[in-house]
Amino acid sequence: MIDILLEVKNLHANAGDREILRGINLSVGRGEVHAIMGPNGAGKSTLSGVLAGKPGYEITAGEVTFDGSPLLEMSPEERSWAGIFLGFQYPTEIPGVTNTMMLKSALAAHRKAKGLGELSGADFLKLVNSKLSLVGMDRSFLSRGVNVGFSGGEKKRNEVLQMAVLEPQLAILDETDSGLDVDALRIVGEGVNSLRTKENAFIVITHYQRLLSYIVPDVIHVLYNGRIILTGGRELALEIEAKGYDWIIRENG
């Protein structure tokens, strides 16, 4: 029996006056990787934003349960403590705040939420150093401003580094493949794969199947016009790659 981690029921959400999500139903079990694919404007980024608690969306109907708790009532930081991680499509640059400062502060807040004390400086560095190698980053990244002047690939590797440090239960990767060359894609894919366990789950949001040849999904959903119109196995990605979305939209939209 599958242990359900995330349950989305009939989720409707607006951005401004526009209804973007029009009744999403999605159930993700521990140990699973779900891919959400779909054309531009389908609502993919809105769904990831709503799940992570990004301001600017209005939930008009539906509910989301995460690990048994109602998710939509939680602040973004509470969702993070509960085990949700959003890998940004466009990671934000924060000049003046170093990677170390952010990781340290994030980890301390996570540990506090679990009733643990702050790590010593040495233990923190040991932990971060062990994760750096996962994504092929060297230590000099730590003292740089968060994502400031990073290339596309470096930004995405930095997302995986943060994920590796925070060890989320559910990672939502929003178009992690955008702007990546093949080498960066492989490093990011391998980084993600090394973090997969029987306990955690991934939602991989993507346009193309190329990321899915590195991070192999159990289930693929096609999102169109704010609804999941088709759910299938991993072979669906290849079919989409070959034939595009039009046929799916014709038959199911």
């Binding site: 973004p76 930081e77 993070s80 400062m101 952010m102 502060s105 994030a106 968060v146």
Partner: protein, 214 residues
């Protein structure tokens, strides 16, 4: 009014820390080949009023003056910073960077005059004033004034008024950093450019004042 003269060829660094209701007026002369670096930190507390007047002139060519400032104003406090730089000799350089974090009902004014008389060629004068506004009730004013009568000079000024970035805050919160801590980190980042290199006790006093504004 205090007078300060930086003698020929001398390099000097000064920090001016103003707290509560302290005010200060400095009349500074930078002699030829001399270099002054002055950092002004204004911490008015909840109700203080700080007036800081800095006048700089040169006595000979090749003088350099770098002014940095940080004002952290909350409550109903008031900070007025006036800088008046007269490039009365050719080939002198001045650089100003003033940053303010303004919260609650505080009011701040930055007034900066750069005056370059005729024949003072080779002057370089730069001025920046950036303000971070944390409430709808606070008022931050910036009055840059450039009076340039000489040709062949490099002068620039810029003033900005901004708020904490929603995207940066959400990014940090999505990593589990509580909102207040995310705000504090962004404020520290904003102030960092002025604080870097200052003595530890000055930095820690400024950071404590900053925390009161979060």
């Amino acid at each position: 009014m205090d007078r300060l003269t930086i003698g020929k060829g001398i390099t000097r660094s000064e920090t001016l820390l103003l707290r509560g209701g302290e005010s200060r007026a400095w009349d500074i002369t930078v002699c030829s080949g001399a270099s002054l670096s002055l950092v002004i930190i204004a911490l008015p507390g909840g109700v203080g009023k700080i007036d800081c007047d800095i006048a700089v002139q040169f006595e000979g060519e090749g003088g350099e003056c770098q002014l940095k400032g940080l004002y952290l104003a909350g409550g109903s406090s008031n900070v007025n910073i006036k800088v008046n730089i007269v490039h009365n000799w050719p080939n002198c350089i001045s650089r100003q960077l003033f940053k303010g974090i303004v919260a609650e009902r505080a009011r701040t004014l930055f007034f900066g005059l750069i005056m370059v008389p005729e024949k003072c060629i080779g002057t370089e004068a730069y001025q920046e004033n950036h303000n971070l506004l944390l409430s709808d009730e606070c008022i931050a004013q910036s009055l840059p004034q450039l009076e340039i009568y000489a040709d062949d000079v490099k002068c620039s000024h810029g003033a900005t008024f901004g708020r904490l970035g929603d995207e940066e805050l959400f990014y940090m919160r999505s990593r589990g950093i509580p909102l207040d801590e995310a705000r504090r980190l962004q404020m520290v980042a904003f102030a960092g450019e002025v604080l870097e290199g200052l003595p530890e006790e000055t930095v820690s006093e400024a950071l404590t004042a900053l925390e009161m504004l979060v």
